[in-house]
């Protein structure tokens, strides 16, 4: 379990990094490397060139304002998780990040790296998609912004060109009257989820008027489902058990859970049902708490 040989570049400015990538059709970007290095060691990935961006300046920021949270390409998960301002502006970030692997991995792994790795079993791609965030990428043609729902093309496949580098992710702030929650079921604490759900709701007069859920580990892509139809016409303030169940069924209709060695398709479907209800309820409670104790 040792990596195959590769050429190595460690540029100190972004232009040089892009140039290095452009010079090879089989190059990989190394940031945190917590997903890449195991693939190298198992020789499941054997790039000709590794472009190490860890020395690029000005990319390790976590900055928040009223619009949302901006996370630089070299900001480690742990830094994002520990950032109180980011937590205040968009609490879903910390809720999800606490479920990303174990603390030691979060110390090195980067949030932006996790996004462009485009793993449908990872937490942060779903968060980005659910919140309608985006990623800024820099390539030979300059800088462009890729919307969250356009970033993920397939399993471990992002829409970045081979010579583009993701430099920053943007997670929109939690809007007034809104609440969020995150739940996942994993085999062991810290493992990839068998199913994970992030929910964003918005209340008006204590009633849910918007509800969307993002699902990880259920489909090939991080998938966002609009749950509002299941809650439509709901009389009481607190979503009823029946409404929560309906939301789960609605989600299931939009998803196609697959089986693997850890969970059968039927079990995944059950987790979608159960976690949809639980997470939706938790997001509702979160929104109530925020609106009533601002």
């Amino acid at each position: 379990m040792k990596p195959a040989p590769f050429a190595y570049a460690r540029p100190t400015d972004l232009a040089a990094a892009v140039e290095a990538l452009a010079g090879s059709t089989n190059a990989k970007v190394l940031a945190g490397g917590q997903s890449l290095v195991p693939l190298l060691s198992m020789r499941l990935a054997a790039p000709a060139l590794l472009v190490d961006i860890n020395r690029l300046p000005g990319l390790d920021h976590v900055t928040s304002d009223a619009s949302g949270v901006r996370v630089g390409a070299l900001a480690r998960h742990a830094a994002v998780l520990a950032d109180e301002e980011a937590h205040r502006v968009q609490p879903l970030l910390a809720m999800a990040l606490a479920n990303v692997a174990h603390a030691t991995i979060r110390n090195r792994g980067t949030t932006v790296g996790s996004l462009v790795h485009a793993d449908a079993a990872a937490e942060m791609p779903v968060v980005l998609a659910l919140l309608g965030g985006s990623v800024d990428v820099v390539g030979p043609g300059g800088r462009r912004t890729v919307a969250g729902d356009a970033l993920f093309l397939g399993p471990l496949e992002s829409s970045l060109a081979h010579d583009e580098i993701a430099v920053e992710a943007f997670f929109p702030a939690l809007a007034e009257g809104s609440g969020v929650a995150f739940r996942e079921v994993a085999r062991r604490h810290g493992d990839y989820a068998l199913c994970g759900v992030a929910v964003l709701v918005r209340l008006e007069d204590r009633r849910i008027v918007e509800a969307r859920a993002g699902y990880l580990s259920v489909s090939d892509l991080p998938t966002v489902v609009d749950l509002a139809p299941a809650l439509a016409g709901g009389g009481p303030e607190v979503p009823s058990d029946r409404a929560l169940e309906a939301a789960g069924e609605l989600a299931l209709a939009a998803l196609d859970p697959q089986g693997d060695i850890h969970a059968t398709a039927a079990y995944r479907a059950q987790l979608v049902r159960v976690l949809t209800g639980r997470t939706l309820r938790a997001a509702y409670d979160d929104a109530r708490r925020r609106t009533e104790q601002p």
């Binding site: 195959a4 040989p5 739940r183 079921v185 062991r188 850890h262 059968t264 987790l271 639980r278």
Partner: protein
């Protein structure tokens, strides 16, 4: 005597070096060594048509590549079949490098030696093998169907078929008032020590001597194999087992191909060579255990008393049988646990599959046997509507029935006779510890909050301390330091501490002056190995006996010097003294000086032993029947095994919706005879329980139909972290000394893991018994997904429970456990 060390919680002497990062594991040695990597079969079953290594020779830094064609003499023969058995009519072992066929993914094909492991792996990638694919046999169903064969010359894939019986079980069952039958499955797990296998060898061209350091559970076994396979005299081979990062059974197998190929390459190249197995290799080329399919027929009376027990099981031994039939024989005999079935018949078939070999993993067949027996006990209790503990109690061998002869043959070829025990008292202790009699109240309180609890129990008896023997050599140096050597090896059990405790007590020396060496054939060439919970019993007893010999010799010499009778002497704090007259004493170091009459002095102390200083000129300097040196050597070779016992109980909480299983309490009562060091025994139990949790709820080897292991990594083979094990393990001991050895010891190493599958199956079934109703757990390990599917399957078969389910759905939402 000074403070007695036996039975005390003495802090471990080995910890200091481990805690400083100064342990010496195989990969920490041989900084100058070349590194090996192995080309392994990517296919489960194939003929090798051609191996082209030409591209490898051009790789910078590659020193050698070996394939089967490079092996000669004994190396070209199959690896040894370590434990032959008359019933093993079709035993097969692999070659060190595959000859013309591979029989599992991971089987070694070529061996590359290079400057470092990176380059060695580059070279392995350049070897081109042409295969002719053969259909693989994966899983017991395929093996039994025998539509395809693993080995062409093994009909039905049957390596062995063995039956034992006492009484007439079929007749007794037919005549019994009640009868049940059960079909049970248990899947593969593996030892999975944190350190994989590893071997370093140095060939000394000048002296023609081979030194091998290997991460093994048997130095002497590896030594004999290396000598035989490489054509070396035994006296020219040393095998030294350095610190070992866990064994749990897998490292008792020997010689692994690499344990021969590394010394072979070292001799061929005249340079030290090292092989360090990586994690993926450990999954696909070391050993697994546990997989069996079992069928139980039982007849019993109104009290649940066994009248006849008829068990058939099918054991998946993987592609080869180097370790013989040990695992299924243990299953077939230890299945009986603390019970007396009166009429018992057991039949097993050991079957080939195109998967990794199956050899002992901590528990070694016992977890499967206990699982079969305890599932049967629970089934009887459910059938009769009786308390599960009561049904067990009525079947116990009673304390006045020891020694109890089962009239069967155990794994060591000797009669299965239990030496001592008190099972009713163990059960009483367990019930008290877990609160057995109050559990229905606890369950009801939880149920009122929408929580689903279950309680399980399982009992076992474990044959420990199997022969044939272990030995010890003890040498008191003139400094007074006590050097102890025993031949079996150590993988974290604290032998350096526990054995020193025994010596300190018997010899009367300070604990700190005792130094214990294990697994070094230069120091003790006669030994068997560390397995079957035998180290404390076997080497502990041998060390005790050797210390006694040293003591007797010291007293003889000191009696002369002090002009006292041996009977009037005692050894306290490292000095021999006259009882009641402590001023009249002589240090053991001085006794050591006197024991070795010298011609030449090398220091002041030794001057006292030279020819003009001591000795009666009228007698030979070394008395008749004596040897120079204050040394003692002895061996312990018991007639048969000693039988430890224990009982576990667990309370689980299961999520009604997600089927996630949480352990709320775990209780262990344990009888391993007298405890040398309770701290170490407790640690062994903790570790065993954690492995048991893994084996029951998390770990399994996921082979696909092509024989590919789908979870050959720590990402997907789910060894428990701290978050998956019980938060606190409640332990109570009973000490029923063994009459078979001088210290009354029984083994403790494997105990913690043995009843795990059984106890969790019992608890999960108990938790699920009302909804969906009489759900039977018949396959372990079990994951939440499998439990959920089992529930669904059961609901489809039992529509009456739908109503209960609907009721629950309407009420449970607000009471669910929050998984975050």
């Amino acid at each position: 005597m000074t403070t007695r060390m036996f039975g005390e919680r003495i802090a471990r002497v080995e910890d200091d070096r481990f805690l400083r990062g100064a342990g010496r594991y195989v990969d920490d040695l041989g900084a100058d060594a070349l590194h090996a990597a192995v080309l392994r079969s990517p296919h489960a079953h194939a003929r090798i048509v051609d191996i082209d290594v030409s591209a490898v020779l051009d790789v910078d830094g590659v020193h050698a590549v070996f394939t089967y064609d490079d092996l000669q003499g004994p190396m070209a023969e199959p690896l040894p079949l370590l434990i032959p058995h008359p019933a093993l009519t079709h035993g097969r072992t692999q070659y060190a490098l595959a000859k013309d066929e591979v029989n599992h993914v991971g089987e070694a094909i070529a061996f590359v030696v290079a400057d470092d492991r990176y380059v060695a792996e580059d070279a392995v990638d350049k070897i081109v093998v042409t295969y002719e694919f053969l259909p693989p046999v994966v899983g017991l169903a395929a093996a039994r169907a025998a539509e395809r064969l693993v080995h062409d010359d093994v009909p039905g894939n049957v390596a062995a078929r063995l039956e034992q019986h006492v009484g007439d079980a079929p007749a007794a069952i037919a005549a019994a008032p009640h009868r049940l039958s059960l079909d049970l499955d248990i899947e593969r797990s593996a030892s999975t020590p944190m350190e994989g296998r590893g071997t370093l060898a140095r060939w000394d061209t000048d002296s023609g001597r081979m030194q091998v350091w290997t991460s093994t559970q048997t130095s002497t076994g590896v030594r004999a194999a290396v000598a035989a396979k490489l054509g070396l005299d035994l006296g020219h081979v040393d095998v030294i087992t350095p610190d070992v990062g866990g064994g749990f059974g897998v490292k008792i197998v020997h010689p692994w191909p690499e344990e021969l190929l590394v010394p072979l390459a070292a001799r061929a190249l005249g340079q030290p060579v090292k092989f360090i197995e990586d994690r993926r290799e450990h999954f696909i080329s070391s050993a697994h255990e546990r997989a069996q399919v079992q069928h139980v027929e039982v007849g019993f009376d109104d009290d649940g008393r066994l009248l006849g027990l008829d068990v058939a099981f099918w054991h998946d031994n993987g592609a080869y049988t180097p370790y013989g039939l040990i695992v299924p024989i243990i299953t077939s005999t230890q299945l009986l646990g603390p019970y007396k079935p009166h009429n018992y018949r057991v039949t097993f078939e050991s079957l080939y599959t195109n998967t990794v070999i199956v050899t002992p993993y901590r528990g070694a067949g016992r977890p499967q046997g206990v699982y079969a027996m305890e599932r049967t006990m629970d089934a009887i209790a459910a059938y009769l509507g009786k308390d599960r503990a009561d049904v067990r109690a009525v079947n116990f061998i009673q304390p006045d029935e020891f020694p109890f002869d089962h009239h069967l043959t155990f794994q060591d070829g000797r009669p299965l006779v239990y030496d001592s025990g008190d099972y009713p008292q163990l059960l009483d202790k367990l019930k008290a510890l877990i609160g057995w009699d109050d559990f229905e109240t606890v369950r009801a309180e939880a149920a009122a909050q929408g929580r689903r609890l279950g309680l399980g129990l399982a009992c076992y008896v474990e044959g420990t301390g199997v022969g044939p023997y272990e030995g010890a050599h003890i040498h008191v140096e003139t400094s007074g330091k006590v050097k102890v050597a025993t031949g079996l090896t150590t993988q974290g059990q604290g032998h350096q501490t526990a054995f020193a405790q025994i010596v300190a007590d018997e010899l009367g020396v300070p604990f700190e002056s005792v130094e214990v060496v294990t697994g070094d054939t230069r120091r003790m060439p006669y030994a068997v190995g560390t397995f079957a919970s035998r180290a404390a019993v076997m080497s502990g007893s041998a060390i005790h006996l050797a210390a006694r010999k040293v003591k007797e010799k010291a007293l003889r010499i000191a009696a002369d010097a002090l002009e006292a009778s041996v009977d009037d002497l005692e050894i306290v704090d490292g000095s021999v003294r006259v009882k009641g007259a402590p001023d009249s004493s002589i240090a053991l170091g001085t006794v050591a000086v006197l024991s070795n009459p010298l011609r030449y002095a090398f220091d002041e102390a030794s001057g006292a032993a030279t020819q003009f200083s001591v000795g009666d000129p009228g007698k030979p300097p070394v008395a008749e029947g004596e040897e120079p040196g204050l040394e003692g050597k002895d061996f312990y070779s018991p007639e048969r095994s000693t039988f430890a016992a224990g009982m576990h109980a667990v309370i689980v909480e299961i999520d009604p919706d997600t089927a996630e299983i949480e352990i709320l309490r775990y209780a262990v009562v344990h009888d391993c005879g007298n405890l040398i060091n309770p701290m170490i025994v407790q640690g062994q139990i903790h570790g065993g329980v954690a492995q048991g949790v893994g084996g029951a709820l998390y770990e399994r080897m996921e082979y696909d139909e092509n024989g590919q292991l789908l979870n050959a990594s720590f990402m997907d083979f789910l060894m428990p972290y701290v978050t998956e094990v019980p938060d606190g393990i409640e332990i109570d001991h009973l000490e029923t000394p063994s009459p078979l050895n001088p210290l009354g010891l029984k083994g403790a190493g494997e105990a913690g893991v043995i009843p795990s599958a059984a106890v969790f199956a019992s608890a999960i079934e108990d938790a699920e018994r009302l909804d969906p109703g009489n759900l039977a757990v018949t396959a372990m390990p079990i994951s939440p997904s499998q439990l959920f599917d089992l529930r669904e399957h059961h609901r489809r078969g039992h529509p009456v429970v739908e109503e209960a389910r609907q009721r629950r759905l309407e009420t449970s939402a607000q009471h669910r456990k929050d998984p975050s």
